[in-house]
Symmetry: C2
């Protein structure tokens, strides 16, 4: 028996999110179907670094599973990619220790959120960025990002539907906003992320970019620990899970 | 009665091509449905610069139609985009003379074909470029492009299924190949294009890029006027109709 770790990318557009659900097309469902087929019907379950919602993309999601097969990792990669659909791809397969856990051993995750800031719709970006037509003050959003870095209780920036019972303290190692022409990207690296945290933060950033709020409002919003203080969650198609780091 | 010209873009991934067909989702079908709705059920037919196949994209397809409505062109644009699906967008609406014809008045078309030349699959490009894993000699392809420019009989480079009865002489004003990192793009500007012409040419270019043929073979291939001389048509998802020019 060996434990295998896979780094996978997926285009979230046609998946009902990561987590397996009856009668829905999910990343976990497609991946377990391929693995079970490889194992001649013996069900194989995977564990991921965390879930992603419907429409959210991945370039670095990491999963693990156990197999009785003893085959080289390059063959694992090829066999899996042959069985997987075109919108789900295994970048890397590695053998890890029997105690490795894709979720519990995470030390850092990186998410990116892409805004296409342009009045005219680009049909090719409809599933891959949030198309936002209004003028944004990027300098103000960059300043606001700095208030998010470090350890904070992110209750204000997590979904009221969150089931997390423990502490809502998380550490953001990096929170930045970069502009390349009409594309604006938010980069967040942190110890962990609460449910909808990136999408709620970006919603507030767009308020700041439209000068409806000041960058320093972030300090007060964090202190309030109240989801009701902030606006809407931005849509999923701009969000990418870019990397997951382990010890 | 006014004649209107529209420049439209579409993501070809989920369309069964441009031309209307019963029970299929087509660009013409969606556009005529929106126009007919705007005209309270009076059927409106559109004429395009030409068809595009299933999976082929557009950034500059041009169509015309007639309407009894007298409304400003900005309102036309907004009304149409409100009714159209997310993968079809009207960039520009203009009033043209009653004798304008989107197909017969074309003086130049530009197509681009995108290759993603990389061993690892990028799930985000699966519908938007041809992912080609083998090493390509770009200089050889650039040299080959030069033999295509000018007026030639393109019979060798047109589908045997083509229904065109007239001359297969066309003029290519520009045929170039550019490389930006792993992306290789072919740009073709010409007086007109035969059925599958760009996709057959790119197939030959990839043979030349793999050094299975010499760049100067193009001269001989053009002279043979025989589709059987060349290999397979490359897939549709790399192809974009970029611009259509009129007198």
């Amino acid at each position: 028996m060996a434990r295998l770790k896979c780094i996978i990318s997926y285009d979230g557009s046609l998946f009902s999110g990561f987590q397996i659900q009856p009668k829905k097309r999910t990343v976990q469902g497609e991946m377990e179907k391929a693995l079970t087929k490889m194992h001649k019907g013996t069900p194989i379950r995977i564990q991921a670094s965390g879930r992603t919602d419907t429409g959210v993309h991945s370039k670095g999601q990491t999963v693990h599973f156990d197999s009785a097969y003893d085959i080289p990792t390059t063959n694992w990669k090829q066999a899996l990619n042959t069985l997987l659909p075109g919108d789900l791809y295994v970048w890397e397969v590695g053998i890890v220790s029997d105690t490795f856990h894709a979720r519990y051993d995470v030390v850092e995750k990186e998410y990116r959120y892409y805004i296409w800031n342009e009045k005219e719709i680009d049909v090719f970006k409809r599933n891959y960025a949030y198309q936002f037509p209004y003028t944004l003050n990027v300098t103000a959003m960059q300043e606001a990002c700095r208030y998010l870095e470090g350890e904070h209780d992110f209750t204000t920036f997590s979904s009221a539907k969150a089931t997390t019972k423990g502490s809502k303290k998380r550490t953001l190692y990096q929170a930045v906003c970069e502009q390349n022409g009409n594309e604006i990207v938010f980069i967040f690296r942190g110890s962990g992320f609460l449910y909808n945290m990136v999408r709620i933060i970006v919603g507030v950033m767009l308020d700041i970019g439209q000068e409806r709020r000041k960058p320093s409002d972030i300090v007060e919003l964090l202190a309030k620990k109240d989801r009701q203080m902030v606006g809407e969650t931005v849509p999923p198609q701009g969000l990418y899970l870019v990397a997951v780091k382990y010890k």
